[in-house]
């Protein structure tokens, strides 16, 4: 079958889709991943084929402009939209942004999908262009989560993606899809009645080369400090100002500290305690198996990678989804959520670090969560579920317009 993937141009959004793509390719299915043109290199670096669509939209510039209260709408079909951009906060604000980005991708993507005729669409929660295409073609849409389901409440908003639906003559886009692929052990997840298919989280953190120093076991205990990739892009240096303070608070611990950060974040760390082993980019799935605990910003990819490695986690969140992730994790007992970035004190960091390094209950909870996560069906085991879903079609009435006459795609079928 043919499976179309849709993603925002951001690591935290795309990376969780990659192992699902590998599983489908390895089972002989065709996969095509769509996002903005500049993101094609990131997609192909995961081994999957890229379909560039729409104009380039700098996601982080868009979010920064929105934060400054400036014009942030990237999409101009035949000139400026008559209605002004909305400046709502919280969930409605998030879905406004996702909707505008979907507008930018939509024309190219719909045209391609009418030719290629995917049997299934897989999308990450912010990529509304995915369910749009699925709805138009009358095929099932599958939503793959980043971690705990932060975006499920958008279901409650009657206006979610309404302008997108209206532009294509649909009553609604259905941004929650027909099925949700869920990498969370139940203890980490919210409770609701969405149809969910558990799928084991397989870490993919971008291009990875095993460094020499990670080929031998650490001499003693090791703690990882990482701050993801998104905050730098969203807010510049001010979003990261407290991180060196976090590292300094670890000076008194008898542990080796590995600060795994982007090249662009490295300059923040001018004076380092002597127990710092390394500062710079390290793929988390190679680093974390050698660590005893982790301190981070609460990004979904970091949280899930640490979770499947069985590490207790100390989280210092800055933005709403990170705070949500941190609270969900803290509720399992496998870590602690500290006050948001700018307000956190050294004393709180020290106490939190003592907990994740020394507290037996916390370590046991982390190992229990790991065991639950690793017991979920692997992506390869979920492929038959997706095949059945594609064969069964959608429960909705197939009210979509018939495919264009050019949509003959016989020889494209693989598998």
């Amino acid at each position: 079958m043919r499976v179309l993937f849709a993603t925002w141009a951001g690591g935290g959004h795309y990376a969780p889709l990659v192992p699902i793509g590998w599983a489908l390719r390895a089972a002989g299915h065709d996969v095509m991943v769509t996002s903005h043109p500049y993101y094609a290199a990131t997609i192909t670096a995961s081994g999957l084929p890229a379909l560039p669509a729409g104009p380039d939209v700098d996601m982080f510039e868009l979010l920064r402009a929105k934060r400054r209260g400036e014009e942030w709408r990237p999409w101009r079909p035949g000139g400026a939209r008559a209605d002004p951009p909305r400046f709502r906060r919280g969930y409605p604000g998030m879905s406004d942004t996702a909707e505008e980005v979907a507008h930018a991708l939509a024309d190219d993507l719909v045209a391609f999908a009418r030719y290629w005729q995917p049997d299934l669409v897989v999308f990450e929660p912010a990529s509304f262009a995915g369910p749009l295409v699925a709805r138009l073609l009358g095929v099932p849409a599958v939503r793959m989560l980043w971690t705990a389901d932060f975006t499920a409440p958008v279901n409650g908003f009657a206006t979610t993606a309404d302008s997108l639906a209206a532009r294509f003559g649909l009553a609604e886009v259905g941004v929650l899809g027909d099925l949700t692929l869920d990498p969370c052990p139940p203890a980490l997840q919210v409770t609701d009645d969405l149809p969910r298919q558990p799928v084991r989280y397989v870490p993919y953190n971008g291009p990875a080369v095993l460094p020499g120093w990670l080929r031998d076991p650490p001499a003693g205990r090791r703690i990882a400090v990482t701050w993801g990739t998104s905050l730098t892009g969203m807010g510049g240096a001010d979003r990261m100002a407290h991180v060196p303070r976090v590292v300094r608070a670890l000076a008194g611990f008898d542990v080796e500290i590995v600060v795994a950060v982007l090249e662009s974040q490295r300059e923040l760390f001018t004076s380092m305690p002597p127990n710092v082993r390394s500062v710079g980019p390290v793929p988390l799935h190679l680093l974390l198996p050698s660590c005893d605990a982790i301190i981070h910003q609460g990004g979904g990819g970091t949280l899930m990678t640490a979770l499947v490695c069985g590490l207790p986690q100390l989280i210092v969140p800055s933005i709403p989804d990170q705070a949500f992730n941190a609270r969900q994790l803290a509720a399992t007992g496998a870590g602690r959520c500290l006050p948001s970035g700018e307000d956190v004190t050294e004393a709180e960091i020290t106490a939190g670090t003592e907990l994740i390094l020394g507290d037996r209950a916390c370590r046991a909870a982390a190992r229990e969560l790991q065991a639950q996560a690793l017991a979920l069906p692997a992506p390869a085991d979920v492929v038959p579920v997706l095949e059945r879903l594609a064969r069964a079609g959608t429960p909705r009435t197939r009210s979509a317009p018939p495919p264009a006459a050019t949509a003959v795609a016989g020889p494209l079928v693989v598998g």
Binding site: P49, A50, P207, V209, L210
Partner: protein, 398 residues
């Protein structure tokens, strides 16, 4: 479990491993790909974790005199002619093993993989497996040409075995993963794990012109990634193929490496020249493909049910194409048979003769009948769990 894939640094030897590596990752297993530094980017670009080992070896420098000699013959130089040279036929692979083996052993000792999957000509894999007592599985990328030299390999590797304290080494592994359609494969005394082929031909971006069906018939001319590098361009046929295609009522798409494109010059209006579009994106829109007889091209076209015209020149290509021709899905012209008239008539036949189309559809159906990579993963799990047969117990593992 942990799987260590081992291959020497040559993309057409690495790409066939990618599908199984993804299947392992998608099944929740850890995977690292050990190769020389020169392959690091190709590995990370496939989404996999690279563990650089040893030093790069200039394979071209080692092999160029041989390929230059082959190019000058203007007749098929087949395996039967090479076989009497014995251990000399695997000289390059022994040099590669020498350059990779120590680091591969160190990596195996520190990471402790449950299984080693090695590309058939990468002997650092079986050597590290023997030294550390790790189960090893061999992976071939099509018709089993590498098997032809297996009887010479223990002797060729004797010096390295001696240095490592091994009596001998088994280069065929506990089993062989085989993506070749059974009807095209040659016999071998091995335990075979058949696998449905799924193409990975390098980083892939779908260009805009491939997002609509072609207006009429389309034929693809491609020359792989290795052949013109190996032969120094002496037997580079695409310019003659393009000229011969002028008489066809079809759009001609020529997909070559950037270096090969630069040698082409002006082409006719019905010819579209592109730089290395992955074949699995291009061939679904094509009615036939003309190529140099490389394994990746053969199997990708076969899986997609596209009739082929193959122009093999090197001994391994001749070996593959002899089997390909037997399926009826391809016309084959060998050195000495290549004339402009023969090229034109075979291309026309590949596009329009229903016999090729029918045989290609049969070959495709046969390939789709093979077990998917997920089933091979299950077999590897069993092999890893069973460990080594009696008499080949772990030794030297830290």
């Amino acid at each position: 479990m942990r799987a260590l894939f081992v291959t020497w640094a040559w993309p057409s030897h690495f790409y066939p491993l990618v599908q199984l590596a993804w299947a392992m990752r998608a099944a929740g297993h850890e995977v690292r790909v050990a190769s020389q530094p020169g392959l690091t980017e190709a590995i990370t670009q496939a989404g996999l974790t690279a563990a650089p080992v040893g030093e790069d070896v200039d394979a071209l420098r080692v092999m160029r005199p041989f390929f230059a000699w082959v190019a000058d013959q203007d007749r098929p130089v087949e395996w039967a002619e090479l076989a009497p040279k014995g251990t000399a036929t695997v000289r390059l692979y022994v040099a590669l093993a020498d350059a990779m083996v120590d680091d591969t052993i160190a990596l195996t000792r520190s990471w402790r993989p449950d299984i080693i999957v090695h590309e058939a000509t990468t002997f650092a894999g079986p050597l590290a497996a023997a030294v550390t007592g790790t189960p090893a599985v061999r992976h071939i990328h099509g018709v089993d040409f590498p098997y032809q030299s297996h009887e010479f390999e223990p002797a060729a590797l004797a010096r390295i075995c001696d240095r490592l304290g091994l009596d001998t080494v088994e280069t065929l592994g506990l089993a062989t993963v085989d993506p070749c359609p059974p009807s095209m494969q040659v016999p071998a005394r091995i335990r075979r794990l058949r696998m449905r082929y799924a193409p990975y031909n390098g980083p892939a971006v779908l260009p805009r012109w491939l997002r609509n069906p072609p207006a009429g018939r389309r034929i693809c001319i491609t020359w792989g990634t290795s052949t013109s590098t190996l032969t120094g361009g002496r037997m580079f046929l695409p310019p003659r193929l393009i000229a011969a295609a002028a008489s066809l009522d079809a759009e001609v798409v020529v997909s070559l490496t950037a270096r090969d494109v630069a040698t082409l010059g002006q082409v006719a209006a019905n010819v579209r020249v592109v730089e290395s579009i992955p074949l699995h994106l291009l061939l679904p829109s094509c009615d036939a493909v003309v190529h140099q007889g490389g394994n990746g091209t053969i199997l990708t076209a076969a899986l997609l049910g596209v009739p082929q015209l193959a122009l093999p020149q090197l001994p391994d290509q001749l070996f593959y194409c002899a089997k390909l021709a037997q399926t009826g899905a391809a016309a084959v012209l060998r050195p000495g048979e290549v004339t402009d008239q023969a090229l034109a008539s075979r291309m026309a036949a590949a596009i329009s003769d229903p016999a090729y189309r029918l045989a290609a559809a049969r070959l495709r159906a046969e390939m789709l009948d093979q077990p998917p990579a997920t089933q091979v993963v299950a077999a590897l799990e069993e092999l890893a769990a069973a460990g080594l047969p009696a008499g080949r117990q772990r030794m030297g593992a830290v």
